[in-house]
Symmetry: C2
Subunit: 409 residues, 2 copies
């Protein structure tokens, strides 16, 4: 099937039936210009699905959201940045208060609200600041509020992460929009990342959940910034059904079109996260091809993009492919080291550095030129099968250390 | 049993029956003052045991050593630094040539020699430089050559790692000596570390192997510098039997005394490695207590000392205990987050920062003072059982990035 997906403007408010807003209410105390509370609202009951961090320590808002979405429906998402509301006193109570205030202002049920927080762990949430600002936040909701909402969920992110796509399903144009944040504490199995997705597709709760799980597995679960999987991660999708397509209620062509568009959106947002990793100067894309299985290719690619040593080499534009072999070797996957080819690639060119597990003589200057580009690729060929997988990461830099040496203040 | 172990001088040449040497032969091309080949020789056949990296990509010398030690005996160890002889052309052939040259010069069998390499992966070993220097190396062997040998196995290490202990076994004084290297590519399951241990204990091959495996599990496998497990790791022990104790051939009091002394030596060398981690400014000691099982305590402690974010916080002397909880949570261990206490401790004092999973108000200035010390401890209480485990790591610093951004040149 040929999929036709086009990028459109509007982020989470591109799909029909959604408005959004983002304001500064004072959770971020250092800069009064930084928005810190976001709201996304639907004009009708939506089917909803979510995936959460696998960290045993789960932030309070996540527990509340999981309960509220248990019935597979939702109408709004309220989010604060600047404080994670994790391991903090009265965490669930405060998360519920955020929902209650939002429900009151929107005239909907609190159990139809997803709530999320991101920021420092372990500090009391300034709940009064948030709840007293909710009426103003609701007043600010608009069909072009996605950018403000995207800004309001940022922590150390340097760039807003917002995207919308249009795909044709059963003859109907269907829109999918998303905003995301994530810059540090990012690792496969959901990093400190939040992603809120809206769509006007008509889709059943089950199919929406299946599509989200699959898209997240192939996008957010394939990026790493620093190997730390956070307490607060969550990806939520609301589907309004306003597009008018025949409800997607089973696997088939319509589901595939929706799933592929959703995956495309998630992959794009995930690579933006990796690219904007704390202090990052490079986006590293690692593709393992000709593996026996996709799982094995994924295990190896994740290990390479997660290797601190390899990340430091890319920071230095140093073609130290031995660290690629080393990270492959401790990944846990079985493979024949004597069959492995490795090449580096970027807009400046491509260079083979290892063939059949042995170093090739290569021109260091050409390699340096290739690795100096922002987007660098590591291409690994296992020569053992037909499966492949791509994962994304970033280099580790002085700025990463600086940012994280004194994050709380 | 009360164990009496005293520190003595002499490193690997402290035990009776051993000599050592270290020379510069030109593998390290940048600095003619840096020794790069080490030799440890025994005056008789020794029982020998070794453990190796679990990395699927194994360096050539490791394969050769494994074969040579298969019979449980050895008489010498030859080591070069500056080149890992991993993923390099003619790797095994070159490792065998190192053994053959050493065997010829010592008048012993090549299969009685262990060989190791450490340094850059993937570059051809300058084998001629090494083999042509072997006769000179053998001439330099002496009863006080341990320090030179310890220097000759260093790569980015800033400090020589050398230790000897004396323990009484069955009324006989028994000596155990060790030299080690390791600074980067260090992670539980043997990092890029080498450790060569000698002892004059009389001990059977089986008991020596059992003791080494156990001691390594509780020392080198509990440190992490950067989460990268290298291709070259190896710990080798040679036992000459010259101490004259009744051969330790079974579990019992003698074995326990030997094992505990060996473990004490390995723990000391392991903490020196973590303390001298590439660019490190702090040694981080994490103790998890009152766990259900030692395994669980170990899983959690390893996760904390391996967390890049927590390491960055310690670099910044920032009491960001939320990152401790976070790293515990993604460790894979199940525990009750609402039961966890966390405290920081150093020579400057101790401060509780989290009780029953919730942040405590604490004096930031006191915390900063405690965390500014070189040796900092993280104390975690799970309140669920009686088991405990300690693991060691270091902070991540600007210098780590600098060292590893351009390691090959």
């Amino acid at each position: 099937m040929l999929l036709s997906v086009v990028n459109i403007d509007g982020g989470v408010t591109a799909p029909l039936g959604f408005t959004a807003a983002g304001l500064h209410v004072g959770v971020k105390t250092h800069d009064p210009n930084k928005r810190d509370v976001a709201l996304i609202a639907a004009d009708r009951e939506c089917t909803a699905a979510a995936v959460y961090t696998k960290n045993v320590v789960k932030a309070a808002p996540l527990l509340v959201t999981r309960e509220h979405l248990a019935d597979g429906t939702a109408r709004a998402v309220i989010v604060n940045s600047g404080n994670a509301n994790a391991c903090a006193p009265n965490g669930e109570e405060n998360a519920e208060r955020m929902c209650a205030a939002t429900a009151a202002a929107l005239g909907i049920d609190a159990s139809d609200i997803a709530v999320a927080s991101t920021g420092v762990i372990g500090q009391p949430l300034p709940i009064e600041k948030i709840v007293s600002a909710v009426p103003q936040l609701v007043k600010s909701l608009s069909r072009n509020g996605s950018g403000d909402a995207a800004d309001a969920i940022m922590t150390t992110d340097t760039r807003r992460k917002e995207l919308a796509l249009e795909v044709t399903i059963g003859g109907n144009p269907v829109k999918i929009g998303g905003i995301a944040k994530g810059s540090g504490m990012i690792h496969p199995n959901m990093g400190t990342m939040l992603c809120f997705i809206t769509t006007d597709a008509a889709i059943s709760r089950e199919m929406l959940g299946t599509a989200l799980k699959s898209a997240v597995r192939e996008s957010f679960n394939r990026i790493s910034v620093d190997g730390d999987t956070s307490t607060n991660d969550m990806a939520v999708v609301l589907a309004s059904g306003a597009a008018g397509n025949a409800e997607i209620a089973a696997l088939g062509e319509d589901y595939a079109a929706f799933h592929d568009a959703l995956r495309a959106l998630c992959v794009q947002l995930a690579t933006e996260m990796a690219s904007d990793g704390e202090g990052a100067q490079h986006l590293i894309t690692c593709t393992v091809s000709n593996a026996e299985t996709e799982d094995k290719a994924e295990t190896i690619a994740k290990s390479v993009i997660s290797s601190t040593l390899f990340k430091a080499a890319i920071f230095g534009a140093d073609a130290n492919w031995g660290r690629v072999l080393c990270a492959m070797g401790y990944s846990g996957a079985e493979f024949d080291p004597d069959a492995v080819d490795v090449a580096f690639k970027s807009p400046a060119g491509e260079i083979s550095v290892c063939a059949a597990g042995r170093g090739l003589p290569f021109d260091e200057e050409t390699a340096k030129k290739i690795l100096t580009e922002h987007d660098v690729e590591v291409l690994i060929d296992l020569h053992e099968g037909n499966a492949r997988c791509t994962c994304w990461g970033c280099d580790i830099t002085y700025d990463y250390i600086k940012i994280n040496g004194d994050y709380r203040t």
